[in-house]
Structure formats: structure tokens, C-alpha cells
Symmetry: C2
């Protein structure tokens, strides 16, 4: 891995393409670089001038008197390869390429230039950001090699002056959006560590920087705007590292819609994986999804402030002097999945002593303006915070004028330092900047958006729960091990599509569910004979890798008894299949025992372009089709994860005792899911998709039956999965 | 109706309880009243001082030299009745009672005092706001009788100085929240007309003020925070008036959750109707629901700006210089129900002429910073706006610095004046106040929350579509008229609960669906005879007003053929019913023809505490139970509204041709819904609930069958519905 430390913490910086003209991007970088108290040296490189803004300029990076740690390049794309080569020869360990016109541009030239960058970076082992990046900022070092207006020097310091509540690192491909987080977060007194925009990611991608930040150990929360992820393996490794370290990743995924994918493809020249797959990864590793810049800043603010004291649950008390505000926040909490429980009599009695007749301690605790005026927000919070029924507090305040808050500052700061339950503040009036600073310094995240306030509390609780579950030792599975060799041999000998009969040995090798007794036959007589030997009503199903939807093709017949019915059905099915698909390769007809009734479930493996195999589970029939009631997870799955996945389905209740019916054998389903996920993991390169549709889940203790199956092998022509384009 | 004009537009104002002390609420009102250039007279009334802030004070309102139009009262609750009486005697036509300690307080005294206020207001025909209100503001008159800090005089004028984009009126019970809309909206250069906070609403409620504002014709959009609605009839009348006038109502309902209801009850002493019922009303009359102060202000801003030019559909073009920003906005649009279609070749060719190789015209139109720098946001918008595929434009901008925008101001203003398609701006950077003013003056709503931006466009399109549908002439129904007299007589002769057999004549009188042939019998022999005469398989169902859930009671038996089976079933059913409910009154057993299969649907009438009868429709079985897939609407319904309601169900596809099955007879279902809604409307006072569960909807042209029914009469003990508490 190239030296990201040299990129982010250089002492000597060469700016290739430096200019003094404030109207140009080149000039803006120079002004921005020099406008902050960076302790290292800046060397302008340009052929046009002997000096730039009072600094001696050099015609080539090779002329710079010191070996530059970092080169910042902003010259037209066609000149970049030569200049970068020079930087390598000059001994630069890192470079930022700000120029556009590479893989994101129409035509092949840009992509070739981008390949050049990659090759040069590799040759010199340089840490290269971009091209088409907007640069980065290292706030503690006051180093801002970027033309983002958000980082221009102003009277406001780069870092807040008050006590620090942890440091935030922002990573984005998009420069405009990346730096806008700084703009929004600075207004909320957040301390940023790095803001890094990666552009086309020819070499370094956001997750590489994230890993550096995690290894460094100074970043307390990450905001990552994801346009695409070039290496799924890196994302999973970094996400796991972050979760173990307790550094939350707040993320937004661009490319959730068709138009968004279109935009991402044109913008960063990347093929995005499916959003469903991203969500499955986010859920596995506890990434927190945001949908707006301010919302993500608000989430980060809450996480940074309360990171050592995340709530143990989702039960909140609401303290308010505004009845309307309290009610509104209560509704918003409920919508965000929080509980607002009635408080216990002891707590209420303690509160009631301070309330006038028109206040109430029930929760929301509407203390009235009169009581809050007397005891202050902190005083009110202290009356409520020990209530055993709640995991945290939300206080409705008005932060319009700092005057009233200033009187309470010391008390509020003491409370923030002492409380073991997190406290969030929602101001219904717009806070004055001094109010925002005062409350941040006192140790509170302040919200103006009521939805963000409730959401942040819920996200804190979810994150803690997800992390604790993740850190638990993994349960040891006692069930039989799969016969990998048999599966491998069977797969190797199969065509590209395995019909049910051909899929059965694969499922058997991994012990995935029970396979009903069945025989493959080639004649009506053999069918009748097979049915007789099976001895219960049977289903007849034409087996062909070319007929995926048997019902639509008329290639299946159910509930047959007796030789006559079976042989008639055989003949009819073969005829129907040939009519439906005259060229289909027909392996024969599967005569299979009808299984007892149960709940229909769909189980499958989907293949994502970025993340590879994902397991899918859904209730059968209309649930999947009408309500999109399916859940996805990356493989492999633990038993716990499989069970969680089932209960993420809205229709999961159908598997429990429903309307007096028997409960279904969820344990058996979980076992099958785990085994299927291991199969998909073991043959990630060989298997494309698996479709077990349906599985019948029988009543508790009676297992599950796989009554149809289709396996598609991965077509090598589709290219390798989860490899970094060219890296 | 008392004189709301005197309340909002007084010339002479008496302040009962005036004080000069800035620390007290009384003093704050006085300062606020005098701080703005109100052209009328303010008369302080207090026994404590001879003058207040330089104005002569009077010991009683009766001493004031001019008849006060408006009295503002802020003295302890127990003194209010006498003071209000004096105001009446002094000839005041309006009063605002700011004091707390009335119906919202624990104990009976407050409620009695509140009743006093009501009686006095009635006696003197005074327009009384409150008690427990925070006052109001009439911004054009610069009249602010309120202690809200948001209205304190400051260097910022009450109204924006730029060109007006329409006036906004805000109505809320809660004072704190009500005035916070002003705080947030002023930052966005909105022109407010009135902000009125109504508190406990002893006399005037928000909807009364809304009606005044609509009749006055100067309000272009309304924001209404609803804690409860005392008169459903007023809400419906006012909502309809607003929709006809094209004045959108943006609303938030407090009391959507259990805790929210609790808060609202304690805060405003009101019993809230169910949120589901509110939503049904909102949908009927096109009220736009918001969930955050800023979001509602953003919605109002968009509506005010583009009110004459609302979008004809939901297809948008996105213009951007930031690829990441464009992609994010595209995703957000898709999530908000908007389309971001590819643009046509002509439009793309026109755009492409201006783009560098790394831009794209597909949509999002990523013009790159380079092109936008050259042609400006307006220039870009003009290239895109005529694309036939889109109904409006969203432009991604950076409004951080006003410098760049200032150069474009004239072009932007010209564009805003000329465009027939609405244009919304989303700035990913925080706008400087000058930027916000500049863009508002140029005629644009500016968004910083990306979700609000997309939502606002969708809301504009929805509002226009809802309004146009509402204004269409109502279709004439050609089906047979209901036999109201028969229904009335039957209802009058019935007990409080009508079992299926008893409900059938009611349904028949209104022609609601087909009733399968059936006979009520009292013996096994009669059952067998009835079955024979019906001639097809029958169902036997015990008829008892005391057994609502027949299946659970074992009181129903299906698909019986032959005398033996029928008479055996009769005996078994009676025994089971008596075992289940020994005291149940049993009317007999209904022998009813089994109906052919079809789609199960639930149809019903629910009764809301505030809004009275609402029609409910849902797909039968698990759809209702697991997915809460039901839709509600106020009665009566037009055919169009009934059809819309069906297609709001996620499972509506099951009624269309699904998986190759036949399409269901939706026309017949619609007809039954309309008729049921008329029945519910006709007997709104007599009927409590109706439950037709299930209805079988047969294939197209074959109608529907009502196979079970239960009607509950309204219990008079439950009190009158939808009347104004004490008004």
C-alpha cells in the first residue's frame, strides 16, 4: 500500500500549475494553501512566472530545492502523465491530481490517460488521489490543497475553539459534496480531521483513506459518500475494522435509482453495484445511512458527542416547556422507532413538585415555561434522567437567543459531563451562532430538524446494539459438515444451468433442507413405476436447463395418484414442454413425492456486480411479488444473522403460530440458510445464482422440503467479480 | 361568527396587565407591541403604574378614552373573567387571553374558568383567542400582541424588502411552535401575513382564522399545526374552500402516536381524533403533510413561488455542475416519487454544444463547473427547460458566496419571470444570507435540505392534480337510488348490534353488492329443507348479535351438501355456539348458498371521534393483518374517489389480472363502496360501525357477494360526534 501518511501529512508540497490569479482554480488553490497556518513549505511550480504570490516558482518539480513529499497537480490532462513521472523522479511519495478529462470524459483518450496515471503511481509507489478530485484538507495541520471555496481562509478558524467532542473525517469521490459537509458541520462546531475527495479513484479509493484514518486512531466518526466501491473486499474489511473500533461510518449511497446510477456512471466512470447489495452490507457492518448533508452531520454530531455513552435502548424521555413541541417530538420519535414510555410514579412525584397545575410529568414531561425558567433545562433533565424506564433524554429548547442559555451554561456543562444517558437538544427556533457554540461547548449536539433529532437517537441505539451483537463470539455450529469435494466434482461436471434434478446433489452435499424422494424417468411407464415405488401422491416435473419457469410452460403436474394418471400426465407434460420450447434439452421427468403442506418460502443466492454472492429470503407467492418483502445479506451467514434476516420480513409472523395454526420450523429454515450461504461462499467464483423456489417450511420439528431448485453457474465471460479495476 | 377582523386589524388596543419590566412576559408584550411601527393606539391597563414605557396607563379597560377594538389580557387566570367582562362592557369586539391555568391545568377550576370565558365571549359577541395562547402577529399592520421572542423588534424588518412572492399565514394552537415558523421562514425571505396561536381554543379555533384569511383573499398559502380539531365540519368546509381557491394548506398533525396524543391531551385539553382519520381528510382535500418546521417552510416557499405555475406532472430535469450532487438529487427525487427521464436527442444536442467531454446531457445534466461558469445557471436551465419530457427543473447550485450569484442575478430573475415550468434550487453549501435574499428576490425557492427539495416538487405536482380532480364536475351515477325509508324503518326496529341476517335488509335497501340466497332457520330439519331449496352447496352460520367472530366460536360450517350433512352441521353449530357463549341471543342459523370463488375484500365503516364515519377498504386475510394494507376515506365517496382508494392498496394488483388469473369486477366493488358510503352518510348519527368481511369480488362482469356482515348502531351514551365542545 502506498504511503497515505505522506499524502495527508507532508512537510514539503509542490503545486504543479501554480498561479496567482484568484479567478482561476489554480490561483484559488494557491491562495487557499497559503491562507492557513500550515507549518510546511509550499513550492509553486510553473513555467509562466518566476514567483507566485511572493514565493519563488520553479519551472519543473525537478528543480524544487527539497524533495517534495506531496505534489498537487492542476494542469491540463494530457500533460499530467509527464508531470507525474517527473514527480516520481523528484522523489514525491504522494500526489493529488485535480485535473479533469480522464475516465469520466467521453471518448477513449481520458481512460488511457487514467491508465497512465495508474502505471506511474505503481512504478514510483506513490499515493495518488484523483484524477478529477477536488483535493483534500487536513484540518489539524491547516493544510488545504483544494480549490473548494469552503476551505478558503476566513475569519473563522478551521477548528472550533471550544472543548473537542471527537474528530470527524469526511470521504467522498465528489469534491463539491465532500467539502459541503465541512460547510454544514462547521456551523455546528464540529471538529473535522480530514476531508478527502477522491474523484475518479484511479489509485486510492475512499476506503483506503478510511483504513488509514482507522489505523491512525484519531478519527472518531467517518462520513463516507459512496458513489461506487471498486473493491468490495476492502469495503468489508474496513467496515469491520471500523465497527470493531467503535468508529461509526455514516454513509450515503449515490446510485440508488436508475437516474442516480446513470449519473454516477457518467461522473466517476464506475459501474455501481445494486443498492440492495449495499444495504445488505450496511446492515451487516452497522453503517448508518443518511439521506441529506445536514442529516448526516447531525448523525455524526450525536455519535461524536455521546460515543462513549451510546444509549442501551430506544426508550426516551422528552422534556419540554412547549406542549406542542413535546407532542410533535413524541410523534417524531415514534415514527423513528423510539419509545416514549410513561414515567414511573417516583420519578413523576419528583418532577411534579416543580410543576404548576398546567404542567405534566407523564412523558413528554411538559414542565411549562414557568418551571423551566425556575429550574433550567439542566435542572429539569436531572429530575427525569434517572427514570429507569428511559435510555436517554430529548430536550425541547429554544436556542434563538443566547442570553437565557448563557445563564445555564455551567449547569448544562456539568450535566453533560456527568450523565450516563445521552441527551439531545432540539431547538424549534433557529439558534443564534453564539447559542450553537455555547451548547456545543457545553457538550451537546443541537438539532434544528426534528426528524434528525429522533433519528439520531435511534441510530445511536441501533449502532450500539449492532456492534455488541457483532463483537459476540460466533456460535459454534454442531451440524454436519458439507461434502465440498462431492459438490465441486458435481459442479465441474455440470452444464451452465442445473435444473432441479441436477441441483439436488449439490444441495444434498451441503445438507440444505430435505429433498423429497424422487426419480428421474424417461418414459410414461417408468413414471408410473416410480410413482408406485414412492407410494404417495407425486408431482411430475419436466427437467430441462432451458425451461426455468415450469408452471408457465405447462411442464409440471401436481398431486397425481395411480398409474393411469401418472402416465397420462407424463405424456402430456412432455408434449407441453416441447410445444413451449421446441429446442429445449429435456433431461427427463422428475417423479417426486408431494410433501405435506407448510409455509412457502423463497431462498436464493443473488450475485451482485460489486459484492458477489448475497443470500435472499422471502415469504413465497404474493409476498415477494406485491410487497417486495424480501431480505438480503452477504454470505456467509451465522445462525444469528440468518434468524435476524427472517425476522426482518414483514410476513415473518406467518412462520410463527399465526391464526391458531402451527408454528413453522424456523430452526430448520435457519440451518438451511446458513448451509446455503456456506455453499455460495465456497463456490463464489463458480456459482452465479441459486433459486430455491419454493421451499416448504413444515411445522416445528418437521423440517423443510426443497421442492424446486435452479442453479446457474457463473459465466466466465461476465468477468471477475470484486476486483479493483486495474489496481 | 364573531368579528375576526376586529381581532386582527384593530385600531385601538388595550393591554390588560401591562408592565415595563422586560424580564416578565407582560413587559415583553409591551416592548414588542411598541417596538414595531403599528399605526394604531396602544393603551396599557394596570393598577400598579400611572404610565408604562412612556404611555399613560389606565386602572381599568373601562377608563380607556377610546373604545378598544382589541383587548390583550395577561393577568392571572382567576381574574380573567371579570376583566373580560369589563372589556365587553367597554365595547371591545375582540380579545386575546394569554394567561395559562385553564382547561389545560390539573383540577376542575381551570375548566370552569374556561367555560366562563366562553360565556362572556358569547354574551358580548367577542372574537376571543385563547386562553393559554401566545398571541398573534399581523405583519402587514406591524401589530404583534405576543410575548414570543421571535417577534421582538430587531434590525431586521418584519417583512422582506424584495418583490413579494405571495403571503403566508401560520396557524397553531402552540405558541412556541407557531412563532418558530416565522423564525425559520424569515431566514428564507418569506412574507408572512398572519401568525395566530390559538392556545386552548375556548372560542376561536385555527380553522375559524383560516376561513377568515381565505375569505379575505390575501393569503396565498397556509401553514396549520393541528393538535386537535374541535369541529370536523369546519375543517372540511375550510379545507374545501382553500382547495377551491388554490390556497394550499401545509399541515402537521400532533398526536400521531400514543405519546403524542397524551401530550396533546394534557397540553390543549382536547381529545384527538385518530391520525388515520386525519390522513383520510388530508388526502380528500389535498392538505400537504409536513414533518418538520423547515420542511413545512420549504413546502410553503415552493408553493408561494410557483403558485400560478404548478407542475403538470412529476418528471424533472436535474441541472448540475457537481456530478455527485446531481446523482444524489436524482436518487432523492426517485425516493420522493419523481421521475428523472432521459432527455430527447434534440434537447441533448442543444446542451451538448456547451459541454466539455467530461459533461453529460442525459439527465441529470452534468454540465461541469466549466460550462456553468460560462453560461450560468440560467443559461443552462434555458437549454433544458423546453425538453418535452420534463415538467420542471431542479438546479444544483452552490450558494455559499453571493459574489458569483450576483453576476447572474438579472438573468436568473428574467428566467423566473418567463418560465412556465417551476424551477427549484438546491444548494449543497450553506447559503450566505445575501445569497438567500438574492435568490429569493430573483424569484426562486432555495433549499438546503435535499429531501425537502425533491419533496416540494412532488407536493406541488400532487396538489395540482388533486385540485384539478376535485374541481371536475362530479360524475352522475345512473344506478338505482337507495330505499332510504326502508333502511330507516329497519334500523329503527333493530337492536344495537345487527348480525348478518339482520344486516342484509339494510344492504339490500342500498343495493350494496349481491346477497347470496339464504334462509334463516330454527331447526336441523328446516336447515336441510332450506339447503335443498337453495340447491347448491351451502354455508351454515349461527346468527347472534353476541357472537361477532363466528369462526373462532365454531359457529360456521362451509361447503355443505345433502340433508344429512346439513342437519348434522346445524346441531353441531348450535351446540358449539352455546358452549362458546352460553348467554348469547341466538336468532337462528343462516343457510346461505356458497358463492363462487373470487378475491376476498374487506369493506367497512369506521367511526372516528372527530370526523364521524369513514369508509375502509382492504384486501382480505393477511393483507390487512400483516401489512396494514387498508385505505380510508371520509364519506360519501364519488366513483372516482372509490376507485382511487382501491388503487392506493399495495395489493390492488390482486384485483387486476394477476398471474394469468381473471381480472376482478372492480366496477362492482366501486359501486358497492359508493353505496356503502351513502348509507353511512345518510345514517351518520344512527350507525356506529359496519363490517363487511369478507366481500367476494368475482371476475369482471360477475359482481360481488357480501358473505358476512355486522352492523353496530351508534350508542347514544358515547355522546354526540363532531360537535364543538361547548361552543
Amino acid at each position: 500500500m502506498p504511503d497515505i501518511h505522506a499524502l495527508l501529512w507532508p512537510r514539503h508540497v509542490a503545486l504543479i500549475g501554480a498561479s496567482a490569479e484568484l479567478e482561476s482554480l489554480r490561483g484559488r488553490i494557491m491562495h487557499t494553501l497559503l491562507g492557513h497556518p500550515f507549518q510546511g513549505q509550499i513550492y509553486p511550480v510553473t513555467r509562466s512566472h518566476a514567483e507566485v504570490l511572493g514565493r519563488q516558482a520553479y519551472a519543473s518539480v525537478l528543480d524544487v530545492p527539497q524533495r517534495p513529499d506531496l505534489a498537487v497537480l492542476i494542469i491540463p490532462a494530457p500533460f499530467i502523465p509527464q508531470a507525474l513521472e517527473d514527480c516520481g523522479r523528484a522523489g514525491a511519495k504522494a500526489a493529488v491530481v485535480l485535473s479533469s478529462g480522464f475516465a469520466e470524459a467521453v471518448g477513449a483518450d481520458g481512460s488511457l490517460l487514467q491508465a497512465d496515471i495508474r502505471a506511474i503511481a505503481k512504478r514510483y509507489d506513490m499515493a495518488v488521489l484523483g484524477p478529477n478530485a477536488e483535493g483534500f484538507a487536513n484540518l489539524p495541520a491547516a493544510l488545504c490543497p483544494t480549490f473548494s471555496p469552503a476551505l478558503e481562509a476566513s475569519e473563522r478558524a478551521l477548528l472550533p475553539s471550544g472543548p473537542q467532542r471527537g474528530q470527524l473525517t469526511v470521504l467522498a469521490q465528489s469534491g463539491g459534496i465532500g467539502f459541503s459537509f465541512f460547510d454544514h458541520g462547521r456551523a455546528k462546531e464540529l471538529a473535522f480531521r480530514y476531508i478527502v475527495t477522491t474523484g475518479n479513484e484511479a489509485c486510492l479509493e475512499t476506503m483506503d483513506i478510511a483504513e488509514y484514518a482507522l489505523d491512525e486512531g484519531k478519527t472518531d466518526a467517518l462520513i463516507v459518500l459512496m458513489e461506487d466501491v471498486k473493491s468490495a473486499a476492502t469495503l468489508r474489511r474496513v467496515a469491520e475494522k471500523a465497527l470493531r473500533a467503535g468508529v461509526p461510518i455514516i454513509t450515503a449511497k449515490i446510485g440508488r435509482s436508475e437516474a442516480g446510477v446513470r449519473a454516477a456512471a457518467s461522473h466517476t466512470a464506475a459501474l455501481a453495484g445494486s443498492y440492495q447489495a449495499y444495504r445488505a452490507i450496511f446492515e451487516r457492518y452497522g453503517l448508518i445511512e443518511g439521506h441529506d448533508i445536514d442529516e448526516m452531520i447531525d448523525l455524526a454530531n450525536a455519535m461524536l458527542t455521546w460515543r462513549g455513552r451510546l444509549p442501551a435502548g430506544k426508550r426516551v424521555a422528552i422534556c419540554t416547556a412547549s406542549g406542542g413541541g413535546g407532542g410533535w417530538l413524541a410523534d417524531t420519535c415514534a415514527a423513528a422507532g423510539l419509545e416514549v414510555p410513561l414515567l414511573d410514579p417516583d420519578t413523576r412525584a419528583r418532577i411534579d413538585r416543580h410543576l404548576p397545575a398546567y404542567g405534566t410529568s407523564q412523558n413528554p414531561v411538559d414542565a411549562t415555561a414557568q418551571a423551566v425558567h425556575k429550574i433550567g433545562y439542566a435542572g429539569l433533565a436531572r429530575l427525569v434522567m434517572d427514570a429507569p424506564a428511559v435510555d436517554g433524554l430529548l430536550i425541547v429548547i429554544t436556542a434563538r437567543s443566547p442570553k437565557n442559555l448563557a445563564k445555564q451554561e455551567a449547569e448544562l456543562a456539568r450535566l453533560a459531563a456527568e450523565t450516563r444517558k445521552p441527551i439531545l437538544l432540539w431547538s424549534y427556533t433557529l439558534p443564534a451562532p453564539q447559542s450553537a457554540k455555547l451548547l456545543a461547548d457545553a457538550g451537546y449536539p443541537l438539532f434544528t430538524d426534528i426528524r434528525n433529532c429522533a433519528r439520531a437517537f435511534a441510530a445511536m441505539a441501533d449502532y450500539r446494539a449492532r456492534r455488541e451483537a457483532f463483537l459476540k463470539p460466533i456460535e459454534v455450529s454442531t451440524t454436519t459438515a458439507p461434502d465440498r469435494a462431492a459438490a465441486r466434482a458435481h459442479l465441474a461436471g455440470s452444464d451452465s444451468v442445473l435444473c432441479q434434478w441436477e441441483a439436488r446433489p449439490l444441495l444434498a452435499a451441503y445438507g440444505i433442507g430435505a429433498l423429497p424422494p424422487g426419480v428421474l424417468v424417461q418414459s410414461a411407464a417408468a413414471a408410473a413405476e416410480a410413482a408406485a415405488s414412492i407410494g404417495v401422491p407425486v408431482a411430475l416435473k419436466v427437467q430441462s436447463p432451458d425451461i426455468a419457469h415450469k408452471t408457465e410452460a405447462g411442464a409440471v403436474s401436481l398431486n397425481l395418484s395411480g398409474a393411469a394418471a401418472v402416465s397420462t400426465a407424463y405424456t402430456a407434460l412432455i408434449a407441453a414442454a416441447q410445444r413451449h420450447a421446441p429446442l429445449a434439452r429435456i433431461r427427463g421427468v422428475l417423479v417426486e413425492a408431494m410433501v405435506p403442506p407448510g409455509q412457502e418460502v423463497i431462498l436464493g443466492i443473488k450475485r451482485d456486480a460489486t459484492f458477489g454472492p448475497l443470500l435472499l429470503v422471502g415469504l413465497g407467492g404474493i409476498h415477494v411479488e406485491l410487497f417486495q418483502d424480501v431480505a438480503l445479506a452477504p454470505v456467509p451467514l451465522s445462525h444469528t444473522a440468518a434468524r435476524e434476516l427472517i425476522f426482518r420480513l414483514k410476513g415473518a409472523r406467518l412462520l410463527q403460530s399465526y391464526r391458531g395454526g402451527p408454528a413453522s420450523d424456523i430452526d430448520a429454515l435457519v440451518d438451511a440458510m446458513v448451509r446455503l450461504s456456506v455453499l455460495a461462499q465456497d463456490f463464489a467464483e463458480e456459482i452465479g445464482e441459486i433459486d430455491l423456489n419454493p421451499i416448504i417450511v413444515h411445522p416445528e420439528g418437521q423440517g423443510i422440503s426443497v421442492v424446486d431448485a435452479l442453479v446457474t453457474k457463473e459465466c466466465p465471460a461476465a468477468g471477475p467479480v470484486a476486483t479493483r479495476a486495474g489496481a
